[in-house]
Subunit: 407 residues, 2 copies
């Protein structure tokens, strides 16, 4: 008699962004004449950089001829892409990461979701609140938590990010957590982590034999040169951290699909007898057994990001969104609403001081602007909304005018 | 203190095809002047159909302009692709499968590997021997088996496919298994399942409240119209079966990456209290939480397979490989080696009557031809090799001449 994985029944009814999509669709059906502007889900709107388009075409042409055809590639990604990543994203910033420590994948959502598989089911979790829901949900599915009560799962140490602590979570007590999820620039708060803050996390992980899962999907929006873009800029991080990166926001790849994960070869975790095992080897086994590599033309397009033209073009793209973010931030401040983010991040986290789904509904109904209700990211997200800078300048300007009138 | 998922330590040292790649690389390094022909790993060699190339270019051009840009798509795949699949692969063959029962993904390896997550960890497995290693390894990683002894994992009911039973496994005893992996046309044996055989499996699953995981990645090679191409051609299969399909072999997408999984909406499994849960809903939750959709231009290319031109071109492609398969099969028979497959399948399963890694090494060293040693697919694969028809006609002809001389 076949039975289900009952951990799934602990999950809340649906994924946050599916909820939002449903409400927006209902509004649009009721008001077909109103033009809705989406500053909710963090999805890019601007075209791919020309260098990437050119590489996608060239990669496609290679598939059209037997002599240049590509079938299965290495599951970990082609050397041309792994080497470009190691050189430009790490060596150039003084980080000691080699090409074969980079695992190319079709998305950070997959990597962030799958990484927990290589750890024991009784690993004790530290997860920020508010947070990208994937970190929590994938651990619930794997049975690493108890049931939910009052929006929180039993067995997770939540790292509260609140106005009171300036959205900077405190370190947990020594010895209480094994697996720590961190994301900087943060989704949803837009906060960045100064060097000393990251160094404190690395020190905690080293002292407590914990692993940091560092989501750095938004690093290309950092403009303040003092802010680390990689956790490997912190000495000692190679012994305790895995890093996730994505081309989704850097180069507009949300619909093109390419990302990567870095696992240093010296990183280990223990078995029950205390013996050390390489996490690089475990993840390599997982990656080669359950994944078959990223589409060849897409890997060519990702590599094009690292050419001179690609770097100029992606910089212009992130500058464009940061310009939107500055406008949004200024508009919120003008309305007297406290906010963080938006300077080194495409997200602005606004303290609206009212129920976040109510704020969501009000902005949708009165301004036809979609934002993300903070409560969808966790209990500490209540009374906040996340506004995304991913849209055209024109739409952002129109949205801000409408919001100013509605509030 | 962070600990690993210790189930990984039960796995054999490495993935089969990684082993083979290592031996071939060593041979090539020692004999740089010898041209090796690969009939081992089932990777296609012929270019993508022109209809797919055209669609990849057109999809890429859409990404170059704000007006036609595509960011995140539906995780389950675009409607244009899901509808084409439902119409051509199912409705046209009399199968009652709707577009929203189709989940598009980046590969069948991922889907076959991930599907076990939605079932309980104590589900009792039936897995053929020989078999595609992913079915076994992903269940080992999830803790659904005990340790390995003599090449078999404790807790799996192996379905032996041997010369004695014509490579057709017998049904298990009633009530002893919950989750049944089947693959037809089979990898590695190339055997197909006649209607009555599939009907017996469906009846077994219905009577024993089991679920069949039906891997149909090679269905486009079936030329005998009496052989079902989908398990949903069997009445009652909608209540007990999940089907996996891939464009990898149908249209040469091994490096382009697109596949799909069908889960009928009425399919259920139980919780501990005996309550039924929709497997479609569970998989949808898994798919939306851990996956972010297939690259947009790739989905356009997959949809092009279903145009008139695409259908003609993919038919020509599979005909070409089937022509190779017929040559291989005839050559083996001429050498007096019993074999199955190769008529409705791109694989020929040859009973060499000797240690399969020894046969592998002999063919590599004496004929510079790479095949797959049967033992890599399970204990019943011993004394067999799998020869793949995926190569150019010229290479296949050269390889067969060399093999005839060497043996």
């Amino acid at each position: 008699m076949i039975r289900i994985n009952e951990h799934y029944t602990k999950l809340k009814a649906s994924y946050l962004f599916a909820d939002i999509a449903r409400r927006v669709a209902a509004y649009q059906q009721a008001h077909p004449d109103k033009a809705v502007i989406r500053l909710g889900i963090g999805d890019v709107t601007e075209p791919l950089p020309p260098a990437c388009i050119e590489a996608l075409h060239a990669g496609t042409d290679e598939l059209a001829h037997r002599e240049t055809f590509h079938g299965y590639g290495p599951e970990q990604g082609y050397a041309f892409l792994r080497e470009a990543i190691a050189a430009h994203d790490y060596a150039a910033r003084g980080c000691d990461i080699s090409a074969d420590e980079v695992f190319v994948s079709d998305g950070s959502k997959c990597d962030c979701g799958n990484i927990q598989e290589i750890f024991s089911t009784d690993a004790r979790l530290a997860i920020p609140d508010p947070v990208y829901p994937v970190y929590v949900d994938t651990n619930v599915m794997a049975g690493r938590t108890g049931s939910a009560a009052d929006g929180r799962y039993e067995g997770i140490t939540y790292l509260d990010c609140t106005p009171a602590n300036g959205y900077v979570p405190a370190l947990p007590a020594p010895g209480v957590v094994d697996l720590i999820y961190l994301c900087f620039p943060n989704n949803p708060t837009g906060a960045v982590a100064p060097r000393e803050q990251l160094a404190a996390w690395v020190a905690y992980a080293r002292e407590n034999r914990a692993i940091i899962l560092y989501d750095s999907a938004y690093e290309s929006f950092i403009r303040d040169e003092k802010i680390p873009r990689s956790i490997y800029e912190i000495p000692g991080a190679r012994d305790v951290a895995i890093e996730f990166r994505s081309f989704s926001k850097t180069a507009g790849f949300t619909g093109t699909r390419c990302a990567y994960t870095v696992i240093p070869k010296n990183l280990t975790a223990l078995d029950a007898s205390g013996k050390e095992h390489s996490l690089h080897a475990l993840w390599n086994r997982r990656h080669t057994t359950k994944f078959n590599g990223v589409s060849y033309p897409v890997q060519r397009a990702a590599a094009a990001i690292y050419t001179d033209a690609g770097r100029r073009q992606t910089r212009a793209l992130t500058d464009y969104y940061l310009g939107n973010a500055a406008l949004i931030r200024a508009a919120m401040q003008k309305l007297g609403l406290p906010c963080v983010g938006g300077d080194n991040s495409p997200y602005i986290w606004v303290n609206t001081g009212r129920d976040s789904w109510e704020a969501f509904d009000r902005l949708l109904n009165d301004a036809q602007v979609v934002v993300t209700p903070g409560a969808g990211f966790g209990r500490c997200g209540e009374n906040h909304i996340r506004i995304s800078a991913f849209n055209s300048r024109e739409n952002v300007e129109t949205a801000l005018e409408r919001v100013a009138k509605a509030l």
